[in-house]
């Protein structure tokens, strides 16, 4: 066993040790745990939406249109008599789907580019940095609007737009972490030990950048949830009659005075979901990132 390998093994052991300590620190953080519980409820509701929802979210019932919250319909019904609770549950499904997939997309594109830019520098770095600047030059909504115009409005295209909008941040964070780690002793050791670029990047640099990337993901999920609701609200995301929290808010606008519950509950659901992920994210950041808030 070479000294480099020993050093790596020791570091890995240490990392594992602090890992469980970190988990413990997170578990004692009451706000973060509250966030985790609410987030888990949303994820479960989204996964099992057809089982949990009391009614079919798309079936109109004109006899019961615009009925106030009560025993039959806990959150009331909308202008077509559809059950609001069932629509919120199915809407949460769309939110979660976009929240996770958009972040995954941003990571699939952003992490390799960030590694490339940070590790090889020079031409690769300038090319990736200009790409990042160009993406950042389009405010999120302008980008999403442009994509919706070119590809047509749909949930998939909204996910792509949100994913692309989140990519620059992932690139920048991965690049910064790579730059920092490329000068670490164990990376130099791995290189001296004959490790190829692929080995160094995937086995030594990427695993050590995970903390920063997890923190970024917890920032990305709630902002993707809000992004989906915003795009669907504007008519650029989920298309009616499919349920989405944004679509529900959009149709509620015409019935604010007679049926305020149509606007209140989907909004509360969005707030609860984003608040939950923000609290969990804040907790994770405190635990994982010794430098404090990154944004």
């Amino acid at each position: 066993m070479t000294t480099a390998a020993v050093a790596t093994a020791i570091r890995d052991m240490r990392a594992r040790g602090t890992g469980s300590a970190k988990l413990k620190a997170l578990r004692t953080n009451r706000l973060a745990m509250t966030g985790a519980v609410i987030a888990a409820v949303f994820v479960l509701a989204a996964l099992f939406a057809p089982l949990v929802a009391p009614y079919d979210p798309a079936r109109p019932d004109f006899d019961n249109a615009l009925s106030a919250p009560g025993w039959a319909h806990w959150l009331g019904t909308d202008d077509l008599g559809r059950d609001q609770l069932s629509r919120v549950i199915h809407g949460a499904r769309a939110s979660m789907q976009v929240g996770l997939l958009a972040v995954v997309l941003a990571f699939l594109v952003g992490v390799p580019l960030g590694l490339l830019a940070g590790y090889y520098g020079k031409v690769a770095d300038s090319a990736v940095s200009r790409l990042t600047d160009t993406l950042l030059a389009f405010p999120f909504l302008v980008l999403a609007v442009g994509l919706a115009a070119v590809l047509g409005p749909s949930l998939t295209n909204a996910t792509i737009a949100i994913g692309i909008a989140q990519t620059p941040a992932v690139i920048r964070i991965t690049r910064a972490e790579t730059l920092r780690l490329a000068h670490a002793d164990y990376v130099a050791a791995a290189v001296a030990n004959g490790g190829g670029d692929g080995t160094v990047l995937l086995r030594h640099i990427l695993p050590n950048a995970t903390s920063a990337l997890i923190v970024q993901a917890t920032v990305g999920i709630p902002s993707a949830i809000i992004g989906e609701a915003m795009l669907s609200f504007l008519g650029l995301g989920v298309q009616p009659p499919d349920p989405s929290l944004g679509v529900m808010l959009s149709s509620a606008q015409a019935f604010l005075a007679p049926a305020p519950w149509m606007a209140v509950f989907p909004g509360l659901a969005i707030v609860a979901a984003t608040l939950a992920f923000n609290l969990l994210g804040d907790g994770l950041r405190d635990v994982l990132d010794p430098r404090g808030g990154t944004r």
């Binding site: 160009t134 389009f138 442009g146 115009a149 504007l234 608040l275």
Partner: protein
């Protein structure tokens, strides 16, 4: 790129680097915008024509945009026209896109200015209170409101405020725009809710940053010195600690500009304000690609320019940024 003589002044060197980056980004943005409309499936002439699809109209479009020319020549013409303020003709109204933009711009600028004012006054005020009253109920309250401000989406806050202050207690108007010059009071009555909606998220971010920066400043040595000199509490907090915290706040405002632009689109949609955002969304739904192209180009160019100005202002205030930034 043209080779420029190396300037001796580090500030000038930094400015040149930033300027060069901005020009490259602007060029890339124009390529993306230009290519976007040509990436549409089918004939770009059909896209630019909108609803009017007679062979004569298509031929006129082809002639106007020179769609039969080489793509590089087309791009050159597009940039040339854009630089002279000619952004084409709207397929919806038949009027120049630049006219529509000139009409929408004042609405959005007023909205942005009012919401910035709201965000800065509330954010800095609450941030200072939270830092000075650390560990007291005031700090707890400010933090809770800020977290809520970050988690409540703009469009929902807009709807809730309309429910509360335009329907339940009709103090403000829920929709429509009256130019400030026509009737200042009516203008403000209609702009207060949109400005609060658009500024709330920003206020939360400003509050958090002000609080953090104030806590940093308050524990610094020069504050102890200022106290030891016998300055009053007000002078120490306002004159020393806050002034040094403002640098951070300026940067945060710059970083949040993109959110402000996105938020403006949604806010204008909720309150039916005829601004830039409404123009953009209407262009998407009426397939008015010439307008869309012009609006996206203008928004992005403005965004790049403002970011440059923020960077320059920031580095002028704090020389450490310049040195750190130039090494990027």
């Amino acid at each position: 790129m043209m080779k420029l003589p190396a300037p001796r002044n580090p500030m000038a060197a930094y400015l040149l680097t930033r300027l060069r980056q901005c020009v490259i980004t602007l060029i890339l943005v124009s390529v993306v915008v230009f290519a976007g409309i040509r990436a549409l499936p089918g004939d770009p002439a059909l896209a630019l024509a909108g609803e009017e699809r007679s062979p004569e109209a298509l031929a006129a479009i082809r002639a106007e945009y020179g769609l039969d020319d080489n793509i590089v020549i087309q791009y050159g013409r597009f940039v040339g026209h854009a630089l002279t303020g000619d952004l084409g003709t709207s397929s919806r109204t038949g009027l120049p896109v630049s006219d529509a933009i000139a009409e929408a711009l004042p609405v959005t600028l007023e909205l942005a200015a009012l919401s910035l004012l709201f965000a800065v006054v509330l954010g800095i005020g609450a941030g200072v209170v939270a830092a000075v009253r650390r560990g007291r109920p005031e700090e707890w309250l400010a933090n809770a409101v800020a977290l809520l401000g970050l988690s409540v989406p703009t469009f929902w806050l807009g709807i809730v405020l309309v429910l509360g202050f335009a329907i339940a207690v009709p103090v403000f108007a829920a929709s429509g725009y009256v130019p400030f010059g026509t009737d200042p009071l009516d203008n403000l009555r209609r702009m207060v809710l949109p400005a609060v909606v658009l500024g709330s998220g920003l206020a939360a971010v400003v509050m958090r940053q002000t609080r953090a920066a104030m806590l940093d400043s308050l524990s610094a040595d020069y504050i102890r010195t200022a106290r030891a000199k016998g300055l009053s509490r007000r002078e120490v907090i306002g004159g020393h600690a806050l002034r040094n915290s403002l640098v951070t706040v300026v940067t945060v405002l710059g970083l949040q500009l993109g959110h402000l632009i996105s938020g403006a689109v949604v806010t204008e949609q909720i309150f039916v304000l005829p601004g830039f955002g409404k123009l953009t969304i209407d262009a998407v739904f009426t397939r008015d690609y010439a307008t869309l192209q012009g609006v996206v180009l203008c928004t992005s160019a403005a965004y790049i320019l403002i970011n440059l100005l923020v960077d320059v202002a920031y580095s002028a205030i704090d020389p450490r940024i310049r040195l750190g930034g130039a090494a990027r």
